[in-house]
């Protein structure tokens, strides 16, 4: 099997190309840990089986940042049969710099001049034939999502793999090129059995080390001479972007616009998805009923495991899939359009007093979806110390998996005010993150770290790329529900069923009751199910909801009229689709499991009930990060930082909930005395 790797500047459209080439049917999988940003896909083109590798976007081969490190380590350690260099054809001057360096790796290379439609629109003239001859690489002038172009690229790659390859000559000045040839010959005499490609590469490296200044100059001369085949007004490319930025980055309106857009986005995410969430809950109930009928003959414990344990738990976790899909859709839009970098630009100064940068803010923003990619995103932060600090702060940001818990409790204890409750929790999460960052930055010297931020040109987001991202995330969430959550749910079910078959005397109840002493001062210790739900949240935060659903809800009995229920389910889907459009701007709708909500509402019926419920939510918000986040922290920053994070996330939620509940109770008593 042969390997083709995609390389190029960030924002050059590599990922769109690899998606177009690998088709929907093939697995484009995330790799865990350090290599999460290196994605690969298997394809079968005719008789040739190929692995396509998507490497992170880089500007240079200098190993000055993590992306370059990953890319270069990969290219050095793994045999690659063909490089596909994707270039932003509207900005060749920069892109060619990388191309020239990539050529010296002596791997057969194809150049994709991407965004060619924009080239034509902007009146740029590129003499691709001459450029191709000088670089000795085939050049394809294309724009993504052009069906014909996809076939063209495929054929070129296949042809490239068959052709013999004798190496690229560096584009240097006469004396330097002669020096290179001499060096190759010298090396050849010393290592007669080494491959000539390896020697050519080695000779170039040695030349770079011997005469860095001259080689640096030669590089720019080569670019200038190549650019003589391109006619372009450099300002014209930026015209549209600068016009949009005049509004979006306005001195006065820039920040309010950012705030307004974030708010509108949150509205669309919650309201657009909640009817589907409601429908999925209906579906879960229907499946439970169906199972109850189907499994009428099997032992009671097995029926209980399937219906009350697995289906209830996984169903309630999966019912939040639409929410995830909406969330990732909008995050994808922000990323694809180019606005994400602007957020970093707008927020940088505001974040600095807290020891953060604009880029750190973007990491935190990604954390709203899932903390794992947020930890990965800290890589783009320039300085080691701020990178580590941001990674420690990320788990404080309330991820999408914690949202189901808030929504459930908000519906139970604060009916009609769900939006406010969720908003305050998110606010608390952000403020705590900033304060923690400030505290962590105190011992460090107060020198300001450097930051270089590129503001890419605006591009209409490609829906195909965004949907692909959504599909990946939905798949990951589902996989998580089917593996980690399912396992956790089985164990938790066992703890709630054995030894007696009665929940109230089960192991979980015994544990919950024993541990509730610790949680008494936080307000929610009086209810053992809440205490018992906490350990499971380390597997995945959603497990809290699944656990409560399987413990609290009435045991499912087969319904009287299953046929009628099935009919309602089908009708309900149409209703949900309608509601998701009609009620987009309406916060009052509740799409959730009414039975579970009323059970949860019954947990606390004293006057302090609301406070107890809120205290539980705060505890959930800050409790130990899920296993996936911990793993990401360990892989990126080592075990020590992970342990530090655990320590923070054990002390912080306890302290916060304690202060909140005791303060609230004090205020309540004072008001009673008066």
């Amino acid at each position: 099997m042969k390997t083709a790797a995609f390389v190029g500047n960030p924002n050059a459209g590599k990922t769109a190309w690899i998606n177009a080439l690998s088709d929907a049917g093939f697995e484009v999988g995330n790799w865990p840990g350090v290599t999460v940003e290196r994605k690969q896909a298997q394809v079968q083109w005719g008789s040739e089986k190929l692995t396509l590798i998507d490497l992170p976007g880089i500007y240079d081969l200098q190993k000055t940042n993590n992306e370059e490190q990953i890319t270069q380590d990969f290219l050095e350690s793994q045999p690659v049969d063909c490089l596909i260099n994707v270039l932003d054809a509207t900005h060749l001057q920069r892109a060619l710099r990388l191309t020239l360096k990539l050529r010296m790796l002596q791997i057969p290379m194809i150049l994709i001049f991407n965004f060619y439609d924009e080239v034509l629109k902007n009146g740029i003239e590129i003499d691709a034939v001459k450029l191709s001859r000088r670089l000795a690489c085939p050049i394809l002038c294309v724009s993504a999502f052009d069906k014909q172009a996809v076939g063209q690229v495929k054929e070129t790659i296949l042809a490239m793999l068959k052709e013999p390859f004798s190496g690229y000559r560096p584009l240097l000045t006469q004396p330097l090129e002669e020096a290179w040839v001499r060096q190759v010959n010298t090396l050849q005499l010393a290592q007669p059995f080494a491959s000539s490609l390896a020697l050519q590469k080695q000779a170039y490296m040695q030349l770079c080390e011997a005469q860095p200044q001259a080689m640096h100059q030669a590089l720019y001369q080569a670019i200038d001479s190549l650019m003589s085949h391109v006619r372009q007004d450099p300002q014209r490319r930026l015209l549209k972007t600068r016009r949009i930025d005049a509004v979006l980055l306005h001195r006065i309106w820039g920040l309010p616009l950012l705030l307004a857009m974030s708010f509108a986005m949150l509205m669309l995410i919650y309201n657009g998805s909640s009817p589907y969430v409601g429908w999925l809950n209906q579906l879960t109930l229907w499946m439970q009923h169906g199972c109850q009928l189907l499994l009428a003959g099997v032992p009671a414990w097995l029926r209980s495991l399937v219906c009350d344990g697995l289906l209830a738990g996984i169903g309630s976790v999966l019912s939040f899939l639409p929410l995830m899909a909406f969330l990732y859709f909008f995050l994808g839009l922000l990323e694809e359009s180019g606005y994400m970098a602007r957020i970093a630009f707008l927020m940088d100064r505001l974040m600095r007093p807290f020891g953060c940068s604009g880029k750190a803010f973007v990491s935190l923003l990604l954390g709203l979806g899932c903390n794992v990619p947020a930890v990965m995103a800290t890589r783009v932060i320039e300085e080691e110390s701020s990178r580590r600090r941001t990674a420690l702060v990320v788990p404080l940001i309330s991820c999408g998996a914690r949202l189901p818990i808030y929504l459930l409790f908000a519906a139970a204890f604060f009916p009609g005010q769900g939006g406010v409750i969720v908003f305050t929790l998110y606010g608390l999460s952000l403020v705590s993150a900033l304060v923690l960052s400030l505290i962590l930055s105190l011992p460090e010297q107060r020198r300001q770290p450097w930051m270089v931020l590129e503001l890419p040109v605006y591009r209409r987001p490609s829906l195909k790329v965004v949907f692909n991202k959504v599909r990946q995330e939905v798949k990951n969430y589902t996989r998580k529900a089917m593996t980690v959550v399912m396992l956790a749910m089985t164990v938790l079910w066992g703890l709630t069923y054995f030894p007696s078959g009665e929940i109230t005397t089960s192991y979980a109840a015994q544990f919950g009751k024993a541990a509730s002493v610790i949680y008494q001062p936080l307000g929610f210790g009086t209810q053992w199910p809440l205490v018992a739900s906490l350990p499971g949240s380390i597997a995945a935060k959603e497990t809290v909801v699944g656990f409560l659903a399987s413990v609290l809800r009435d045991k499912v009995e087969a319904p009287l009229d299953f046929a009628q229920e099935s009919k309602n389910l089908v009708l309900g889907l149409g209703e949900a689709v309608k509601n998701s459009v009609v009620h987009l701007a309406d916060f009052s709708q509740e799409g959730q499991d009414a039975g579970l909500i009323s059970e949860i509402g019954r947990l606390f019926d004293d006057p302090l009930g609301k406070l107890r419920a809120y205290s539980f939510l705060v505890y959930c918000l800050f409790s130990i990060p899920c296993i996936m986040t911990l793993n990401a922290l360990r892989q990126e920053y080592g075990t020590k930082l992970m342990l530090k994070s655990i320590a923070i996330m054990v002390l912080l939620p306890y302290g916060m909930s304690l202060i909140l509940f005791q303060l609230g109770r004090l205020l309540y008593w004072l008001s009673m005395i008066r």
């Binding site: 001057q93 300002q235 980055l249």
Partner: protein, 77 residues
């Protein structure tokens, strides 16, 4: 003069950079290097960072970093 003294809309030529090696490498990769023409585009709402247009790219720098870059003003537009 320093790059930070360049007001929005004005252009200049970069004459020298006294930043650490890592920063210079990154800036050059982005197209910001000695001899290039640079234009100040705008400052962020809180006056920092500052956005520049150079080498066909838009790049934002923090004030202390930009202060380490020397430029010569281009007077006639």
């Amino acid at each position: 003069m320093k790059l930070t003294q360049l007001t929005p809309g004005r252009r200049a030529l970069i004459t020298s950079m006294t930043l650490s090696q890592a920063v210079v490498i990154r800036l050059e990769a982005l197209g910001l290097r000695v001899g290039e023409e640079i234009e100040c585009v705008r400052t962020a709402p809180l006056l920092d960072p500052i956005e520049y247009s150079v080498g066909g790219s838009l790049i934002a720098l923090r004030r202390p970093d930009a202060a380490q870059i020397e430029v010569a003003l281009i007077t006639n537009p």
